[in-house]
């Protein structure tokens, strides 16, 4: 059982829901990423997703795409992310995951990616462009090593396919709220609650909702039906403001925002 599995098991037994922030590794640099992981742990988030910058993302909206570009332009390398994660290990005890394009995982090598991630302290990976049809080998390698492979379902995924995806996933299922790319949205689709509710009845794997979630009102509305909620662009947009002089302020602002979202999710029954 991975640390992520344990975390969700505990939350479920306590009837609580998870908040999962997403940040981009190396934006503006890896020290800042490490600092945010420490802050998140102290604030009490359930787990954190760390996006591995990729030169050609297709599922991401402009905010996250720009953050990838900033990180790559400042010289991001994957091995440096793993080294940073090791450095902060003592201070970051929450489960952390990477979100990585399959292009990156394939280039590094499937087994090597898992090994290096685990050595660094990551307990799983979200692969936004690895479909269930192509996932058999990687899914088995992950399962053999107790490494979580988080897969995605979307509003366009037929229901029988959702069940198949659930069967090859572990940790949690990432339910994409909208037909589209990442980014903050005011309105979320009305049928989302029913769809997530249906999927949760089909599987024991926790279901978390992501894409478009940015406001405490979203949390209050979606919290009851999901195991957790993922917040990305709203945080990455704030990180984009960070520069050499104002890091402390930006960290403070992100901390306040995350705590506000946490308060909302902790109020969910």
């Amino acid at each position: 059982m991975s640390l992520l599995d344990e975390t969700f098991a505990k939350l479920r037994s306590e009837g609580r829901k998870a908040l999962l922030p997403f940040i981009t590794a190396g934006d503006p640099d890896l020290d800042f990423t490490g600092d945010l992981l420490k802050d998140f742990g102290k604030a009490g988030v359930a787990a954190c997703e760390v996006g591995v910058p990729y030169s050609d993302p297709v599922a991401d909206g402009p905010v996250i795409q720009a953050s990838y570009q900033r990180a790559l332009e400042s010289g991001f390398r994957l091995q440096q992310l793993f080294e940073m994660r090791k450095r902060v290990a003592a201070e970051v005890t929450i489960p952390t995951l990477t979100m990585a394009s399959y292009a990156i995982i394939y280039r590094v090598g499937l087994e090597r990616y898992i090994e290096q991630s685990q050595e660094a302290g990551f307990c799983g990976v979200i692969v936004p462009d690895l479909l269930v049809e192509e996932a058999a080998e990687f899914s088995k390698l992950c399962a053999d090593r107790d490494f979580n492979l988080i897969q995605l379902v979307t509003p366009t995924t037929p229901r029988e396919r959702q069940v198949r995806i659930a069967e090859s996933s572990s940790g949690f299922l990432y339910f994409v709220s909208v037909t589209g790319i990442t980014g903050e949205r005011n309105e979320l689709p009305p049928q989302l609650i029913d769809n997530v509710g249906w999927l949760r009845e089909q599987t024991d794997v926790p279901v978390c909702i992501g894409f478009g979630i940015s406001q405490p009102e979203h949390v209050a509305k979606l919290g009851p039906v999901a195991d957790g909620l993922i917040v990305g662009s709203a945080i990455v947009r704030r990180i984009a403001q960070a520069n050499a002089e104002n890091r402390g302020e930006v960290r403070g602002e992100i901390d306040r925002y995350v705590r506000e979202m946490l308060a909302a999710i902790n109020a969910v029954k």
């Binding site: 292009a103 936004p128 462009d129 366009t156 037929p158 589209g180």
Partner: protein, 408 residues
């Protein structure tokens, strides 16, 4: 041309039902697109089984595009090379000036069959953008074309043509501001609009079924060339077929109908750019490794972290870090060979064809001309070599003037 074409959408041995050409191809896209891709596979299967679909497409190819395109004997070029007889498959004579129209009409028909009401496309050199805008104008479909800002600069005549045809051009400012960034942006649009929009991919790249479908539509080039060769060469097939390879659609189109003919040598020409240094060329089959890019598994230019490398070609249509998965399959199985042509060699070939035959080739096609001449020079005069002249060079006139330091 009096011979009968082989069946148009004939079943090929690859890809398999998962879209794999050997180990290459497949689908590496966000889950959001799966349903649209499945729907496209289903509709394309139905279209293949429906004779009226092929009849309509054949009719358009004949009366709207001007097919069949001629197989032209390049007498003065042959004399200059002193080897095999050089023939040009004249895709530059198609309506809109390149082979791209063969595919966009096919996919526009599929768009209508699927009941979708909007089309998006990406373009590098602009030929695919113009061909998509043309097909959409013909059928009355709204059309949005994504194009890298750098390519917009290089290909002004095509940008203007697309606007005249009623398409909306969206400049892509991210990354290297070229074709690969335009593909990313078009994919993002499709993620949000997939319910009512079809994405007309312009090359044999992308997730299954695109590499198969674009090859099938483009294989009209090779099917015609086959019949024309048999007529022109006293019942013989060509000894060698040469085509340029960016994404690889004109090459796939002319190669595919000859793949089963062991005696026909197939040569693909990649963009050698300025040199073999990283970032100075666009030759994934020569210098790349198998990896994932833009929805499929194929040879790509990536660094050790899996990040896509910058590439260069003076030709906007070849300036792409990946290649169609079937070319990767043909390379690894040894069925086709892939060589490189540098910018300066292509430029010389452009001048050579212009002055010896009175034809201005596209800069993309100039790569095939350059290496076709080299290959022909090493063959004997009783052999025949066919070069796919994938497009005409008018669109490149402004860029050529700039490269030569001339006032426009």
């Amino acid at each position: 041309m009096s011979g009968t074409l082989p069946k148009a959408l004939s079943p090929q041995s690859v890809p398999d039902s998962a879209g794999r050409f050997g180990s290459f191809g497949g689908r590496f896209v966000p889950e959001t697109l799966t349903r649209a891709l499945d729907e496209l596979v289903a509709e394309y299967d139905k279209a293949k089984a429906d004779p009226s679909f092929q009849e309509e497409l054949d009719g358009l190819w004949k009366t709207f595009v001007g097919r069949p395109s001629p197989l032209y004997f390049a007498r003065r070029l042959t004399e200059a090379c002193g080897g095999a007889q050089i023939w040009l498959k004249r895709e530059d004579l198609n309506h809109t000036g390149a082979h791209k129209i063969n595919n966009t009409l096919g996919q526009a028909l599929l768009t209508l069959r699927m009941g979708k009401t909007r089309v998006i496309a990406e373009t590098g050199a602009g030929q695919h953008g113009v061909a998509t805008a043309t097909a959409c104008a013909h059928f009355g479909l709204p059309c949005v074309v994504y194009m890298g800002a750098e390519d917009i600069r290089r290909q002004k005549p095509n940008v203007f043509a697309m606007k005249l045809l009623g398409a909306e051009i969206r400049a892509v400012e991210s990354g290297s501001r070229t074709l690969r960034d335009a593909v990313n942006e078009a994919m993002r649009d499709w993620m949000s609009s997939v319910e009512d929009t079809h994405y007309i991919i312009g090359s044999v790249i992308g997730p299954h079924p695109f590499p198969m479908m674009v090859r099938d539509f483009q294989s009209v080039i090779g099917r015609e060339a086959r019949v024309q060769s048999l007529e022109a060469f006293d019942g013989k097939l060509p000894d060698c077929v040469v085509a340029c390879v960016g994404g690889g659609s004109n090459a796939a189109g002319i190669f595919a109908p000859f793949v089963a003919d062991d005696g026909v040598r197939l040569v693909g020409v990649e963009a050698g750019g300025r040199s073999s240094e990283p970032g100075q060329h666009a030759s994934p089959l020569t210098f790349g490794r198998p990896g994932v890019l833009h929805g499929s598994y194929s040879y790509v230019m990536q660094d050790d972290d899996g990040q896509t490398c910058d590439v260069h070609s003076m030709s906007a249509g070849l300036d792409y870090p990946g290649v169609g998965p079937e070319h990767s399959y043909w390379k690894d199985t040894g069925r086709a060979e892939y060589i490189q042509c540098r910018d300066d060699e292509a430029m010389k070939a452009f001048d050579m064809l212009a002055k010896s035959e009175g034809i201005l080739p596209a800069l993309e096609s100039s790569h095939a001309i350059a290496k076709g001449m080299e290959v022909a020079g090493k063959m004997s005069p009783d052999q025949n070599l066919v070069i796919c002249l994938s497009g005409r060079g008018d669109k490149d006139a402004m860029e050529l003037a700039r490269l030569r330091g001339e006032e426009w």
